[in-house]
Structures are given as structure tokens and as C-alpha cells.
């Protein structure tokens, strides 16, 4: 079965699955590894480009939510990578135009998937898959508070990879005296999960993973009143999917990005977060620009932790994390 990689959690995997193809959220991809970079290029965007080039039999869905990925798509089309698709994610969400763009992109993606060999979804199949994904997101959301950071990160990434939920029966939470932190920011693929280990070994406890494919990507379990019902037609389900994703999307690229702040505010307070680690790739302007607004909005210390996607990042990152946590004690 053809794998369809997707690079934003706001591209609905259930739509891909309903076409009989395998959605693969790239945050779990084993070969999304460090690479040599040209000046100014984001390591993550470059890894996505290389992943697309390395898997000619699979498809890659880029999205417009960041300039580097949008232009990464330009790179693969120049290189004649055949199975690439650019999903136009609207930055605004408040207008009918945003909804129209998202809905029409879903339809266009559907045509792309059929061209790849997928089948147009039936109402029953789509409703069933939407319900399953919704349930999976709910389970993961419930587990957010008590799983150790690395395990939670991997569980969510795994869900984005194949739709499954694997939660350990007995979780070993970090020490009660550890400092509760939130990690907020861009993509944190599983191969960079050592950052989470570093936080916990330095005496921190990640109680909120608000990176791209973390808890934030699960929305609000896609609102309970949006469960597909038996009488739905395919256009009804598509509308439901569109509204769910547009309403539940909380991300830095949105304009204005007030929903991200609203989402964070609620959780930072509820989980008594004492500091924020702002995780981003070098070259990611969208996240980097939020360091000061995050400090101002929540009155919490913020550590900028960047990555060039290189193996040599780890010692520098560990050093910064240790110093940050030490200063919080």
C-alpha cells in the first residue's frame, strides 16, 4: 500500500486513510535524519525534502504553513519528484474564504490520492475512520498529564504515523520535585527526543508538549459535538472535517495567532508550568519571533532552544537546558 507522508498535523490523516492509503506523519520517520544544509535552510524542511526524494514510490504532502516547507515543495518539483502535493493551509480562519480554501484543498487532495491509486471514500468508511481517529486523539489527550515526556512524544508521533495508540500500562513519571515545564514550538521528530530526556535529567518535568506534533496537534479531541453521525453524506463529512481542523488548529502561523496563546494560557495555568522551553529549528522565524511575546503573555521564563538538525547540537542544548533549570531552582 502506498505511504503518504504528511508534514503538518493540520492535514487530516483520516482523509488519506479513507482513500485506502497509509498516512504517515513524518515526525516518526526513522530516516528523517541530520543533513548538511545550505545557508538559511531549515534542517527540518530540508529533511522533508530529502525524505520525499528518497521515497519515490511514496507521496509527500507539503503544506504552506511555513515558507521553508512551501519552498521545499518548489525544490522537489524542480527535481521532478512525481508524488508531491502542496496543501494550502490558510493562515486566517475567521472567514468563509479560509473555509473555502481548506475545503477545496481537501477535495484537490482527494483527487491527488485517487491518482496515486487510492479509492474515493465511501460515507461509511470515512465516518468510521473519522470516529476512530477522534477516539485515538481523545485517548492521547487523556494520557498527556501522566506520561513521561519522551514516551508521550513518541506515542503522539506514532499516532500520526499509523493512527494507532500505544500507551504504556505503567508510566514512570518524573520526580515530584522536578520543575514543571512546557515545551512549545515547531516540529520535534522522535529522533530528536533526546531533548526531552535532557530536560528530565536536568531536573525538569515536561507537563505540556506543545510542539508541532505534540498535544497541540490533537486539538480539543476534535470537539465531541462533531462526531460523524449515521445520516451524514460525504459533503457533510467533508464540511465536518474542514470545520474540525479549522476550529481546532492552534498554531504559530495563524494570523493572528491568538488561538495559540489562548490554548497555552489554559494549560500553562492548569498544569502549574513554571517555565517554557521554546523549541525551534534555526531559520524558523515564526517560532523564534514568539520568545518575547511568550514571556510577556505568561510572565514565565523562556529558554530558546534551537537546532540545526546536526548531531553536534546535543551538547550545546544540554548545557543550555541545565543552566536554565539551575536558574529556576
Amino acid at each position: 500500500m502506498i505511504q503518504v507522508f504528511y508534514s503538518s498535523p493540520w492535514v487530516p490523516p483520516e482523509w488519506i486513510k479513507a482513500h485506502g492509503l497509509e498516512p504517515r506523519g513524518i515526525w516518526f520517520a526513522g530516516d528523517l535524519a541530520p543533513l548538511p544544509l545550505a545557508a538559511g535552510v531549515c534542517a527540518f524542511a530540508e529533511a522533508v525534502v530529502r525524505l520525499a526524494e528518497a521515497h519515490p514510490d511514496s507521496a509527500m504532502i507539503f503544506s504552506t504553513h511555513c515558507d521553508q516547507l512551501r519552498r521545499g515543495f518548489d525544490v522537489v518539483t524542480v527535481a521532478a519528484v512525481e508524488h508531491a502535493f502542496l496543501f494550502n493551509l490558510p493562515a486566517t480562519w475567521q472567514t468563509g474564504v479560509a473555509e473555502q480554501i481548506f475545503a477545496s484543498e481537501l477535495e484537490r487532495l482527494g483527487r491527488f490520492l485517487v491518482k496515486l491509486g487510492g479509492q474515493p471514500p465511501t460515507v461509511e468508511a470515512l465516518a468510521d475512520i473519522m470516529a476512530r481517529y477522534r477516539q485515538a486523539r481523545s485517548r492521547l489527550l487523556k494520557a498527556a498529564a501522566h506520561l513521561p515526556a519522551r514516551q508521550y512524544c513518541e506515542a503522539v508521533a506514532r499516532f500520526h504515523w499509523d493512527g494507532s495508540v500505544h500507551l504504556p500500562e505503567k508510566a514512570q513519571p518524573a520526580g515530584a520535585n522536578a520543575i514543571p515545564l512546557a515545551i512549545v514550538g515547531g516540529p520535534l521528530p522522535t529522533w530528536q527526543g533526546n531533548v526531552l530526556d535532557a530536560i528530565e535529567s536536568a531536573g525538569g518535568r515536561v507537563v505540556l508538549n506543545a510542539t508541532e506534533a505534540g498535544e497541540r496537534s490533537l486539538g480539543r479531541a476534535f470537539s465531541p459535538n462533531r462526531a460523524p453521525v449515521a445520516a451524514c453524506t460525504l459533503p457533510d463529512l467533508l464540511r465536518l472535517l474542514t470545520r474540525s481542523f479549522l476550529d481546532d488548529c492552534v498554531d504559530v502561523f495563524q494570523r493572528p495567532n491568538t488561538r495559540l496563546y489562548g490554548w497555552l494560557e489554559e494549560r500553562l495555568a492548569a498544569r502549574k508550568v513554571r517555565a517554557i522551553v521554546l523549541w525551534h529549528y534555526v531559520g524558523c522565524d515564526l517560532w523564534r519571533a514568539e520568545a518575547q511575546p511568550l514571556r510577556e503573555a505568561f510572565g514565565l521564563p523562556v529558554l530558546l532552544l534551537d537546532s540545526q538538525g546536526a548531531a553536534g547540537d546535543a551538547p550545546r542544548q544540554s548545557g543550555r537546558i541545565e543552566a536554565f533549570l539551575e536558574s529556576l531552582r
Binding site: 545550505a38 515558507d67 519552498r71 494550502n88 493562515a91 486566517t92 484537490r108 483527487r111 522565524d285
Partner: protein
């Protein structure tokens, strides 16, 4: 009065200005010597630039450098001011269709650190808002908004989002969090129509699916309403049609000027003045009628020089196609000093140079033109257009100038350079030009001269 053209230093312009005054020079209300911009506004960079010697160019520079004063005057007279960001050429056409409304680009503050040789402190102040040197120099606008010294606070701020540069979008978002409310509008990333989709022709021989045109048209209609509410009178279709007609007068003049300046064997006007002239297209430097006068003057000067065989850059100069505007204006002088000349340009707002269709409903026409923005579509579309223009203007080399920290520069330069090399066999390089490039002169010089030598060898 057309004499043999020369390039003048600021000191030489002082002498020439005095001479012109004695000869009875008549100037518009914003006229005066160039020196006063150094003395009164601390535009220190002018001391290191070389200027064209014509009166038409003097008028151009004075027009450019008095924008802040003219905006303040308009405000004092009860006019409304719209700050429009990122779309480079679309919203101003709407704003100027309303009586008493002017639009300008706060983005333009990106040149202030260059003009003031960083004595303004804008870049350093922007760091205090958390926007450091890893961002594009457009971050200067944050501090400019905060200190209110470089442009009046607009009555309304509008910014496009979606298919825009991340650095710009992040800076604009920062601005909003600093307490400057923004009306955001969506610009989808332009794509080719797919089989089964209705295709719409866009200016610049581009195409987009109808659904994208419809979305942009709906967004512009929303903006029209907001602009009308601010102005206290609705933006009627007839007024917009008239606004488009006037914008097209500017665009026709620029097209003629570019043809004369870039198409001739020697250059009748220098690259620096041409860059400034092209920039007038995007918001008319806050005065649409005066833009028409300034461009008419430049065109007349260029035509007259060609008639007399007076070129400011000789025919032997290497014909260079220049991509992206430069953060330091001096770079345009340097290219010519090192033996090149600009014979074509893509300063990121090609859509603002295209005629807006006048045979379509006005909002539809504007939506199609907005979608033709080279920065919202595939980089290959831009590369193809550049290659076509290189052919048309017989370019011998291509320079893609990188804007420090700009997200689009990470990828586009390589794609464009690779395409022109492959399609046209032209040498192409990328150059990063910071707001003050003096410290980089040895590197820039060796790279540009290497390019020019390669091009000459290919003759």
C-alpha cells in the same frame, strides 16, 4: 535641460544645485538640495552614493526622501493614512481610489537603517522587541512604529498572510502584539489550475484556478469595506475602476521607462535611480499624481539622452539582470563601478508593474493581479519569467541578491540561478547585501567582478 549625463557625489550635487538655482530652477513643493536630507534627516548614506545628474533624478530623490513629511502634511489636512504591508502593490490601488486616503508601506522602513547608516538605531531597538539580526531588515519597522519618527501612525493597518515570507509575517505579528491592530487577509499560494478546474488568466502570462481568484476577490471585497468604513464613504466599483485606471497610468510610464532604460545598448539612467523609480509603483510614494509627474520627467530625460547618444553607462558594460531589491542602495552604484549595468530587474513586485485589466470587474481584475505576485507563486514561475526577461533584455549575467534573514532567500536563489544557467547558459550568482555593505566590499567586489569577467569571456 539635458546636458551630458554624469554621476555626481553629494558634494558635486551641491555645486550643481546652486548652479541650477542660479539658472532659475523651478521645483515642486518638496524640492530642494539633496544635502538637506543629510543635514535635517540624517540620511547619511547619501554621502556615499553616486547620483544621476539630471533634474528629473533630483526630483525623484526629493520625492522619495520627503515621503514622511508629505504624509504628515496629508494627516494635518485631515487625510486618512493606511499602512499596508507585504502585498506590494494591491491594497494601495484600492486606498487611492478613495478621496482623501493615502497608503504607504511601513515595510519601506527596511531602507531607513541604510539611509541613516544605522544612526537611527532602528535595528538595535527592534532587538529589544525580541526580533534580532536573524530576521530580515524589515524588522526596522517595529522600532519605527514605536518611536513614531519615521512615518505617521496609520489610521488603519492591513497585512496579507498565507503565502508570504515567514520573517515578515512574524514581524507583523509581533507588531500587532505591541499594540498595533492589524486587519489580516489571506493570500493563497498560487498554483496551476488542474484538469477539470476553470483557469483564469493572470497578468504576466500566468494562470490560476478560478477558485483562488474568487477567494482573493472576496478578501479584497472585505478590505474594501474596511477601507470604506475608515474613509467614511464606501469604495464603489466606479471609484475603484478609476483608481485602477490611474494606477495603470503609472504602470504604463514605468513600462516605457524600463524599456528605454534596460533595452538600450548603453544605459541612459543609472541602476540606482531605476530601482527607486520602480519602487514608486507599489504605493506611489504616497502621492499618485506626483508619481506620474516624476516618472514622466525621468522618461523624458532618458529618451532625450538616447536621442543625443548620451548614456550614463557605456555599451561595453556587462548587462546584468538583478533579482531582489538590495538592503544597501550603494550596491547598485558598485555594480556600475565594477563594470556592470542593470538591464532588467525583478525586485519582488513584478505584479505591480503589470497592467491591471480594465475590461474586467475591478475587484476581479485586482484579485488576478494580486495573484500574479512573483512571491506567492512557485519559484519556477518566477525563474521562468526572469529567464524570459533576460532573453528580452539580452542579459549576460544574473545576480540574485539575498536579503539577510529573509525566509524566501534560503531556497529561491539556487532554483533561479540553476534555471537561468540551464536555460540560457548565463553565469549567475547569489550575493548577500546587508543594510550597510561597506565591510563586505572585498567579498562583493571579488564575486561581482568574477561574474562580470565570466560574462565578458562569453562575448
Amino acid at each position: 535641460m539635458s546636458t551630458a549625463p554624469r554621476k555626481l557625489t553629494l558634494d558635486e550635487w551641491d555645486a550643481r544645485y546652486a548652479e541650477l538655482k542660479r539658472a532659475g530652477l523651478r521645483e515642486p513643493f518638496y524640492g530642494g538640495s539633496l544635502r538637506r536630507h543629510v543635514l535635517l534627516d540624517s540620511d547619511l548614506r547619501l554621502r556615499h552614493l553616486r547620483f544621476d545628474s539630471s533634474m528629473a533624478s533630483l526630483r525623484l530623490w526629493n520625492f522619495l526622501l520627503t515621503e514622511n513629511e508629505r504624509l504628515a502634511q496629508a494627516r494635518a489636512q485631515g487625510g486618512k493614512i493606511v499602512g499596508t504591508m507585504k502585498d506590494l502593490g494591491t491594497v494601495p490601488v484600492m486606498a487611492y481610489s478613495l478621496a482623501g486616503v493615502r497608503a504607504f508601506y511601513p515595510d519601506g522602513a527596511w531602507w531607513t537603517p541604510c539611509l541613516m547608516e544605522c544612526s537611527d538605531g532602528l535595528l538595535q531597538q527592534s532587538e529589544t522587541f525580541g526580533i534580532d539580526g536573524s530576521f530580515c531588515p524589515v524588522r526596522a519597522m517595529l522600532a519605527a512604529f514605536q518611536n513614531g519618527e519615521h512615518f505617521p501612525q496609520p489610521d488603519l493597518l492591513i497585512c496579507s498572510s498565507g503565502a508570504v515570507c515567514d520573517d515578515f509575517s512574524a514581524i507583523a505579528q509581533r507588531l500587532e502584539k505591541m499594540g498595533f491592530p492589524i486587519v489580516w487577509w489571506e493570500m493563497p499560494r498560487r498554483r496551476e489550475p488542474e484538469p477539470g478546474e476553470t483557469a483564469c488568466a493572470l497578468p504576466g502570462n500566468l494562470k490560476a484556478p478560478q477558485i483562488q481568484v474568487e477567494c482573493v476577490r472576496a478578501e479584497l471585497a472585505r478590505l474594501g469595506k474596511v477601507l470604506g468604513e475608515m474613509a467614511g464613504l464606501p469604495l464603489e466599483s466606479g471609484a475603484l475602476a478609476e483608481g485602477i485606471h490611474e494606477a495603470n497610468r503609472v504602470r504604463r510610464l514605468l513600462a516605457a521607462l524600463r524599456q528605454v532604460a534596460y533595452g538600450s545598448p548603453g544605459a541612459p539612467l543609472p541602476a540606482l535611480e531605476m530601482l527607486v523609480a520602480e519602487m514608486l509603483a507599489i504605493h506611489f510614494c504616497s502621492d499618485r499624481q506626483e508619481t506620474i509627474e516624476v516618472l514622466s520627467g525621468l522618461l523624458a530625460e532618458a529618451e532625450e539622452r538616447l536621442r543625443r547618444g548620451h548614456c550614463i553607462i557605456p555599451e561595453e558594460a556587462v548587462r546584468v539582470f538583478w533579482v531582489n531589491p538590495v538592503a544597501d542602495l550603494r550596491a547598485m552604484n558598485l555594480l556600475e563601478e565594477w563594470g556592470g549595468r542593470v538591464c532588467g530587474s525583478d525586485y519582488m513586485f513584478g505584479h505591480a508593474l503589470e497592467l491591471i485589466p480594465e475590461d474586467l470587474p475591478p475587484l476581479e481584475a485586482l484579485a488576478r493581479t494580486a495573484l500574479a505576485d512573483p512571491m506567492v507563486g512557485p519559484t519556477m514561475d518566477r525563474a521562468r519569467r526572469i529567464a524570459a526577461d533576460c532573453r528580452a533584455y539580452r542579459a549576460e549575467a544574473v545576480v540574485v541578491s539575498r536579503i539577510p534573514g529573509a525566509s524566501h532567500c534560503a531556497r529561491e536563489g539556487a532554483i533561479i540561478c540553476q534555471f537561468v544557467r540551464k536555460e540560457l547558459g548565463l553565469p549567475a550568482i547569489e550575493l548577500e547585501i546587508p543594510p550597510i555593505c561597506d565591510a563586505m566590499l572585498p567579498t562583493l567586489s571579488s564575486r561581482v567582478q568574477g561574474l562580470l569577467e565570466t560574462a565578458r569571456a562569453g562575448r
